[in-house]
């Protein structure tokens, strides 16, 4: 994690960015620059706005009635909330893995092929290749290559989550958002997902929301600590966990609240 300390290019950046649920301000004027190609962890107690912030990056909050934003959120230098942004294109560039594995009730193959089928006219051979490549990328290929046509709902929780990761990778995104990707998994499955995050680092910009501070410490280069909608501290992970600058951060990481 040496390069975390170097100055790197910014991939996504919030500038005075707020998210409101009707009148309630869930994310408060946050300034945060997510570096290119690194893993950024977002931690904080429940209800601190970390998930809301993450879901704002690919505009998943649009689904919630009454949700609106203020300030700027740039992805690749372009305001995500600009008038001319096509959310479908945006979400294709920013993949997402959810808290609970949510494979579609389709075959494993169809799950992974879902995104590519939406966006391009790949030939059957190209599609096969893309599916394999994505499943290999999510370290699931060996386990499912003989049952690609079986229903994805038959997979275990950990496998299902890796399938969801493969599904996101199949669209070839530039950035991956992970919303507490291991909170519904057992420790063994969690470890595999964490290994994957480390493997994928460098190829994709990754932002991962987590409850689990050890996880943040294990997988991330940078860590942002949110509290009550405010970004309290954003620093290289090693620094944040060993010598936090803010009292609130220290209290949280030492387990005094949260």
């Amino acid at each position: 994690m040496e390069d975390a300390k170097q100055k790197t290019k910014t991939h996504a950046e919030a500038k005075g960015f707020s998210v409101f649920y009707r009148q309630c301000e869930a994310v408060k004027r946050v300034d945060l620059a997510i570096p290119f190609g690194l893993v950024t962890a977002i931690i904080g107690p429940s209800g601190c706005g970390k998930s809301t912030f993450l879901r704002a990056i690919n505009r998943m909050n649009d689904l919630i009635p009454g949700c609106h934003t203020d300030g700027e959120l740039l992805f690749d230098g372009q305001n995500v909330y600009g008038g001319d942004v096509d959310t479908a294109v945006l979400r294709r560039r920013i993949g997402m893995v959810f808290q609970k594995p949510n494979p579609f009730p389709k075959s494993i193959y169809d799950n992974v092929a879902y995104g590519p089928r939406l966006h391009g006219n790949l030939s059957k051979a190209e599609l096969d290749e893309r599916v394999e490549e994505s499943l290999v990328g999510a370290a699931l290929w060996e386990e499912v290559k003989d049952r690609l046509n079986k229903n994805a709902l038959g997979l275990s929780g950990g496998q299902a989550q890796r399938l969801c990761l493969a599904r996101a990778l199949a669209v070839r995104p530039e950035m991956l958002l992970m919303d507490e990707p291991t909170s519904a998994l057992d420790p063994k499955a969690t470890a595999r997902i964490e290994e994957l995050i480390i493997q994928l680092r460098g190829r994709y910009t990754i932002a991962v929301v987590t409850h689990n501070m050890q996880q943040a410490a294990r997988v991330s280069d940078m860590t942002a600590f949110f509290y009550e909608g405010n970004l309290v501290e954003f620093a290289a992970t090693d620094d944040l966990f060993t010598k936090p600058r803010e009292k609130q951060t220290e209290n949280y990481i030492t387990g005094r609240f949260g």
Binding site: N58, M60, L63, P65, A88, V89, L90, R91, R92, G95, M96, F98, K100, N102, P103, F104, P105, K106, Y114, G115, L118, H119, N151, L153, G154, C164, R167, A168, V171
Partner: protein, 446 residues
């Protein structure tokens, strides 16, 4: 003490539940068992030689030689009956006037009764109505008709009020040439009619002959299928689109509340009102067809089941995990694509269940069909005629045959057969709904 009351209450509720279930089961059996038992009589019964002659003559079914051979034997067995009648006819003018007056009406009843039982006497010209060309085709009815010859049904006013009595006719004719007919009818009825167990599965698909005296209920079944399928063809796309709109596109607000209450109100409108509306709107205002037609009936039935389709589809769509929708959207699918590729497939079992149950409803509805589509004439409607022609249908023709037919008593087996078939169709559709739900629920859970 409190514990005790709670226990007693608990027991009371349990007992109440059992009682309700038991009552419902009993009621169901009480209704369904007779319908099925009697309805089965249309498909399986003891048929006579007259039935086999009728099948050969009207439908061209059966072995011609075998029927002819059997018919020859039967005719030989019947010879003494006809000889006795002819002999008595010759004898009658010679009798004293008083005796003649006494015997003549009874003789006429016997002669007509024999024609009903065995068909027209040999050598007589064939009657115009098909029902009179053949004798009794069903053994049960033949026995009744034979009894009508053997006994005169009169009323006894001697006691308190009136009482039906059956007076034997035989003593009246004792010593005349007609006397041998009675023991023949009593003891040799089998050789006169040759009853045999008969299966008639084609009751379901055969057209009726001579106002349902013979044949099956094919045109009615086909009409019901047309109407139910036609209604679904119209109601399903509309209903699903409306449900998708309500669940996925519409924003909560007064407009949505208003539309929803419209749908709910529509569900509560009596079906007879739908029928009247269908007649007034589709036929008299829109002129979809010159008069009653399958199309007008299907449109009316579609309107009738639309609220059910919308509500069941809405429920099914609402039950699709939000995570599926989010997953699709996060991969860059548009809303329409998400609905089409993820939400509708996942909601399919629920939607199908609603559709199948609505179809059962459409198949059984009578009132809307009477106003817009049904006629009592059992005529086949070809697929090219559905847009303009009315059709017979099980529900309406069942009512018609039970209440307005010229000989209600003679065709009980057709009425019950029709009722059982209709119930069976609806039950089969409901069973299909249960199976679909179970099967697809399994697929969605694993």
């Amino acid at each position: 003490m409190r514990m005790l009351t709670r226990k007693i209450l608990d027991r009371a509720f349990t007992a109440g539940g059992y009682l309700a279930v038991a009552l419902m089961t009993l009621f169901l059996l009480w209704v369904l068992v007779p319908i099925f038992v009697k309805g089965a009589g249309a498909y399986v019964f003891v048929g006579t030689v007259e039935y086999r002659r009728m099948m050969l003559g009207e439908f061209g079914r059966g072995n011609e030689q075998r029927v002819a051979a059997e018919w020859a034997e039967v005719q030989r067995a019947r010879e003494p009956v006809y000889e006795a009648i002819a002999a008595f006819e010759r004898e009658l003018p010679a009798l004293p006037v008083a005796r003649r007056k006494e015997l003549k009406p009874a003789f006429q009843a016997v002669r007509e009764g024999v024609a009903v039982l065995l068909g027209p006497a040999p050598g007589k010209p064939l009657p115009a109505l098909t029902r009179m060309i053949y004798g009794q085709t069903r053994w049960r009815q033949a026995q009744d008709k034979a009894a009508n010859i053997l006994f005169e049904e009169t009323w006894d006013y001697s006691g308190n009020g009136s009482q039906k009595v059956h007076v034997p006719r035989q003593p009246l004719f004792e010593g005349t040439a007609l006397a041998p007919v009675f023991p023949l009818l009593r003891k040799e009825l089998r050789s006169l009619l040759r009853p045999r167990l008969t299966f008639y599965p084609r009751f379901l698909t055969d057209p009726s002959i001579d106002a349902h005296f013979f044949g099956g209920i094919g045109p009615e079944v086909l009409g019901t299928v047309y109407l139910a399928l036609g209604a679904m063809l119209i109601a399903v796309p509309l209903g699903i689109v409306a449900a998708v709109y309500f669940q996925e596109y519409a924003r909560e607000g007064p407009v949505l509340t208003f539309l929803r209450s419209c749908v709910n109100t529509l569900a509560g409108v009596p079906s007879v009102v739908f029928g009247l509306f269908g007649l007034a709107f589709f036929i008299n205002t829109l002129h979809v067809s010159p008069g009653k037609s399958v199309l007008a009936g299907a449109l009316t039935l579609a309107l009738l089941v639309l609220p059910t389709v919308i509500r069941s589809s809405e429920e099914a769509i609402a039950a699709v995990p939000r995570a599926y929708k989010e997953g699709a959207l996060a991969l860059g699918a548009g809303q329409w694509r998400t609905v089409l590729t993820v939400i509708l497939p996942a909601a399919l079992p629920g939607i199908l269940t609603g559709i199948v149950i609505s179809m059962g409803r459409a198949a059984g509805e009578t009132a809307p069909v009477v106003f817009t589509a049904a006629v009592s004439v059992g005529k086949w409607v070809t697929p090219s005629e559905v847009l303009s022609q009315p059709t017979p249908a099980l529900s309406w023709n069942l009512y018609n045959l039970c209440t307005e037919h010229e000989a209600v008593e003679e065709i009980r087996h057709v009425q019950y057969g029709m009722a059982a078939t209709l119930v069976l169709i609806v039950l089969a559709l409901n069973l299909a709904a249960i199976l679909i739900r179970a099967r697809v629920a399994k697929r969605l859970k694993v």
